[in-house]
Symmetry: C2
């Protein structure tokens, strides 16, 4: 396959016009000396935090639903994503049957009651002593990422045993103070789930998890829907932390791509109005953000370069999960999104 005179956007090498020859992998890239191009070629996107889309919910999806999930994500330009659970009885995790190469992000039940967000408080528990305990309920091979509140009992034991199994830890739904945040950061736990939502806020006498996210070199998930945080907040994160430390996620739920109305997130009823998902008490309950929109929003909010957009939409997340991807260089998987100048997706390649 050959894509000629496209604006190649690589998160490391930057933007240049060239021609890409590829099959499964990128075989040859030839840089041309032109400034005109027919379309923009970006590494396909990675979404490590997505609960559902188009009526499909990770908690209830059948194998064929998961296959549709993959298909819908392909339309969004996402080639790799982690279907994400919500808090349920830990036994309930055993119902989830993933097909093929999909792996899970477990969000809860090991999170803070005070910062539970749209998670059912009845099922929240401290993490078990080690990850093997979890294997009673779920095939550990299916789990790639777990969001945990670091202030809970047994955090360090559990987190360490996750790391040994190549399961990545993300800190989230946490009421930790700055002292705890610094301690876990210094122990290598450097990822934060949907920053700054459901985290102890920045206070000037205790930076909390939000302040820690700014102050220390954490990598943070950002939901760039303009609802979870204001455009200026997203821009502030970009200005302070830089594009190297941001991972765009949708946190989207089954209502995504569907009309306003009543939906479920796990076993909690959610009402979607003007595309905004809330529990009955007004708590934000995930998003209806599409990844194809997230990249436009992020660029609009921050004025970032395309190179930086490739970092936050693909490369950083791939690196974070140790997946080979997110670049357009020879030898890498040929997973591309072709876009026009308005960042509308023209075609996704090789999904």
């Amino acid at each position: 396959m050959l894509l000629e005179n496209v604006l190649i956007v690589d998160p490391i090498d930057g933007e240049y016009v060239g021609t890409v020859e590829f099959e499964e992998r990128i075989e040859i890239i030839v840089k041309t000396n032109k400034s005109e191009y027919k379309s923009i070629l970006m590494p396909a996107f990675v979404d490590p935090h997505i609960h559902g889309i188009m009526g499909i919910d990770t908690m209830t999806a059948s194998e064929s639903d998961f296959r549709k999930f993959i298909e819908y994500e392909a339309y969004e330009g996402v080639w790799y994503f982690l279907p994400t659970t919500v808090t349920c009885k830990v036994e309930g995790l055993s119902k989830i049957k993933l097909p093929g190469d999909l792996k899970l992000h477990l969000e809860g039940p090991f999170i803070s009651k005070k910062r539970k967000g749209a998670h059912n408080e009845d099922y929240l528990i401290a993490p078990p002593y080690d990850v093997e305990e979890l294997s009673k309920y779920i095939d550990l091979y299916d789990v790639k990422l777990i969001t945990v509140a670091p202030e809970l009992d047994r955090f360090f034991d559990f987190a360490q045993s996750c790391v040994k199994k190549d399961i990545r830890i993300s800190l989230g739904h946490s009421d930790a103070n700055f002292e705890i945040a610094r301690k876990v950061f210094e122990n290598g736990y450097n990822r934060i789930t949907h920053f700054p939502n459901a985290l102890s806020p920045l206070h000037h006498r205790d930076l909390g998890m939000v302040g820690a996210g700014f102050y220390l070199d954490f990598t943070v998930e950002i939901i760039a829907d303009g609802v979870h945080s204001s455009p200026e907040f997203v821009d502030l994160v970009y200005k302070i932390k830089g594009p190297e430390r941001i991972i765009l996620v949708t946190d989207s739920i089954s209502a995504t791509g569907l009309k306003d109305g009543n939906y479920m997130l796990g076993d909690l009823p959610v009402k979607v109005t003007d595309g905004k998902a809330h529990l009955e008490d007004g708590t934000i309950a995930g998003s209806t953000l599409r990844f194809s929109q997230a990249i436009k929003n992020f660029r609009k909010f921050t004025g970032c370069s395309l190179k930086e957009l490739a970092m936050v939409s693909s490369y950083n997340a791939a690196m974070d999960l140790k997946i080979k991807g997110g670049r357009i260089v020879e030898g890498y998987p040929a997973k591309f999104v072709e876009l026009n100048d308005e960042l509308n997706i023209i075609k996704t390649w090789n999904f």
Copy 2:
């Protein structure tokens, strides 16, 4: 006068060993090629926000008290400072009689009830239409700086008439939302009083005054006592905004330099315990910070260079108030602080 082989610290030219010849002004500076020096020479400090020291309170000081005030500040290495009022009946301002060259910082009464801090709510009012109205109560020539909450009625009219009289506006004790903060910033009001205290907090869906302080190019006063904000918060401000946008202030009260006990701040009783000043309800009521300690704290909290310390302790404040000072270059006033390597003051020159 001659100071030989001192480490000259200039906020622009940086640090180098040299010899300074001066009388009232700096006459000649000769750079030597040595690396050893006998002491550190910094521009003497500027404190634009200080209520009192050693039993003296701006609100009740006699002319001879103000002269002692100047003397005490000289020990602290401060050659220029603004005695600062607290909120009182606006008529009460007419009691303040300044000697010589001293000028005032009016903190209140034009501040927010919600963010009043240690100001008496009974006297809080919106600003008058113009600054001439104030001249009924106080000689405008005596006023250099006014802290105002920008969300109050008539802010723009008042602020504009202040600027015309060369009175600087600082935004403070404010509950303004981000929209207001942005609007006033865009209109040139770019200074914030004792950031982040007594300001609408950073929220991720409305940045508030604290978020605006981080996000926009405001210059902010910082009380580096480790009480008004944590060392990490001060370091966060330094990392985000850089030393160019920070002005160290003490916000210190009459109890400064005296023992723990009961004091007054304006007409509010203040209790000082372990050097921390609080109202009965626990609200922080100014500090007992000495400027000579503020510079040590800031360096410890941030690890800044001496050049940067000269910016935040003198040059920035001088520039902000349009005073010639804060530098060690030929032609500038010879106002110096001589320090040892632990930043203890050895001698203040030419006060």
